[in-house]
């Protein structure tokens, strides 16, 4: 796995730049990752990101689906599309330092 440096932190990432080590993540890093894809973090945007982090840990290493972020996390899907335009599932995973949502193939 490639190693990259963001905001002075050395992190492990996959080929698309998604972090691969859960514990290397910090809020500072999250902010930098968000900025890198044009998202400015605010109280509103931190809500779903923190849900993703907690849910990933509680569910044994599985990035929650968009539907789960809405039905379990309680975040409005339309708003998620506004906060993380076009690709909310992928963008949220990127900022939260989690694997991107993937199928089996």
């Amino acid at each position: 796995m490639p190693v990259t440096t963001i905001a002075g932190h050395e992190i492990h990432v996959d080929d698309e730049g998604f972090m691969t080590e859960y514990d290397e993540w910090s809020e500072d890093l999250g902010k930098e990752l968000a900025a890198a894809i044009g998202v400015e973090m605010s109280d509103d945007t931190w809500g779903p990101i923190k849900f993703l982090r907690d849910d990933f840990k509680a569910e044994g290493g599985h990035t929650p689906t968009l539907r789960r972020v809405s039905t379990v996390g309680g975040f409005d899907t339309k708003k998620l599309f506004e906060m993380f335009p076009k690709k909310p599932a992928k963008k949220m995973a990127y900022i939260a330092g989690l694997p991107k949502p993937a199928g089996c193939v």
Binding site: T65, L66, F81, P88, A89, K90, K100, G103, C104, V105
Partner: protein, 413 residues
């Protein structure tokens, strides 16, 4: 006498009941299966029905016939599980006590979960699923006389049963229209909530061309909000509209409603279990096998099969009060129909993405991994026989339950 109760007589339920009955002493344990009816469908066969490759009556058999004679089958709708009292109540009032419970009631497509999808006048008129016997049969009738137009193949949200089936459907449909001489009259779009039709690096680089080669448009990261059946458009949360003349949808997949009523499920009525043992995270005597659980593996018959192999020994250790030594790895093995008499084969688990190579024997195969071949297609068709005659009775298959790296080529990065 102790009771093992198995809810569901499909792939996982039938295999686990048959295998455990063979190894549990009959003077100590009863094994009972509960299901609502006597129709056991070979679900992989649904894919072929719309194109006339299989007939609807070729995929259904009697559940009873495939469950060992010394296992009683109780027919009825399940009302709820009382996990504290260790009983299962049926809607007709029957109460069945258990010492160990296996939930193997699978998942069902739920068109009612997307506004507009099951509207009268469009459901099974120009909107179809192909994951139910009724849906695939009605879709076959529709395709027989369809004159062409915009065909949209759309997935609501993961996880779904047989996650490659919508792609297979698209490939088979493309070949079907070509062979009927009407490909130029059909505009095809594949709509997925995932970031692409293929999301794993190797699959993406080796199979990604299949959609463009066959002129199938892709709409990705698509979260459907509703189906506007009046104007015949699929509408997403970010207001992207995909018009259709024929919509083949994969509705949200959910576990059985009794799982929710019993307080045993997550938001999709899937039972949260340990991903290596399939033992409930909440109750020490409840297991969930096959599609009914929440493990991050494909919802597929092959997963149910490999999982049951590991489960049987774990179950015996657990009821004997000893630590479980088996650990299921999420192994899946799936043929992917690509049309024109060819198919691919993929073999993977929780940690290893589908890799190219040979299967099951290194260098020899005879199957090819992640590569189209006629033999793979023949393998898929032959599998129906193996399902009924080898898998269901619990006979050994010449494929290891845990994924093997033998024959796989690991790319150098």
């Amino acid at each position: 006498m102790k009771n093992l109760l198995v809810l569901g007589g499909g792939t996982a339920g039938t295999m686990s009941a048959n295998k455990l009955r063979k190894v549990l002493p009959s003077e100590e344990w009863t094994v009972t299966v509960v299901d609502k009816d006597d129709h056991h469908d070979y679900q992989p066969g649904y894919l072929f029905i719309p194109f006339g490759i299989y007939q609807p009556d070729e995929v259904t058999k009697s559940r009873r016939k495939y469950i060992s004679d010394d296992i009683p089958v109780v027919y009825g709708d399940i009302d709820r599980v009382d996990a504290e009292a260790c009983t299962v109540s049926l809607v007709d009032g029957t109460v069945l006590p258990y010492d160990q419970l296996v939930i193997a009631t699978g998942v069902t497509p739920r068109p009612d979960q997307t506004p507009g999808m099951d509207d009268e006048g469009s459901w099974y008129v120009d909107v179809f699923d192909f994951y139910t016997h009724e849906g695939t049969t009605k879709l076959a009738e529709k395709l027989r006389t369809w004159k062409g137009g915009r065909l949209v193949v759309q997935i609501v949200e993961m996880p779904i049963k047989c996650p490659v089936a919508p792609l297979e459907f698209a490939f088979l449909a493309e070949a079907f229209f070509t062979q009927k001489g009407m490909r130029d009259k059909v505009e095809m779009t594949y709509v997925t909530p995932l970031p692409g039709a293929f999301t794993k690096p190797l699959c993406s680089s080796r199979m990604g061309h299949l959609l463009t080669d066959r002129d199938i448009k892709l709409e990705s990261d698509y979260m459907v909000e509703r189906i506007d059946t009046e104007n015949k458009v699929v509408v997403s949360y970010d207001e992207r509209e995909v018009p259709y003349d024929l919509l083949v949808t994969v509705p949200l997949n959910m576990g059985a409603d009794f799982v929710a009523r019993s307080g045993l499920g997550n938001e999709l009525n899937l039972v949260p279990v340990d991903k290596h043992t399939q033992l409930s995270k909440k109750f020490d005597n409840i297991w969930a096998l096959g599609d009914a659980n929440d493990i991050p593996a494909s919802k597929a018959g092959s997963v149910a099969h490999f999982e049951v192999e590991i489960f049987v020994d774990n179950f015996l250790e657990h009821v004997a009060g000893t630590p479980m030594t088996g650990a299921f790895d999420g192994h899946a093995n799936c043929f992917i129909e690509t049309g024109y008499g060819k198919a691919m084969l993929i073999d993977f688990n929780y940690d290893t993405e589908p890799l190219p190579g040979k299967f099951p024997y290194a260098g020899v195969g005879p199957m090819s991994l992640l590569k189209e071949s006629k033999l793979n297609h023949q393998g898929k068709l032959a599998f129906r026989w193996a399902y009924w005659n080898v898998l269901m009775p619990g006979r050994p298959m010449p494929i290891p339950a845990l994924m093997s790296m033998s024959g796989k080529e690991v790319p150098v990065s």
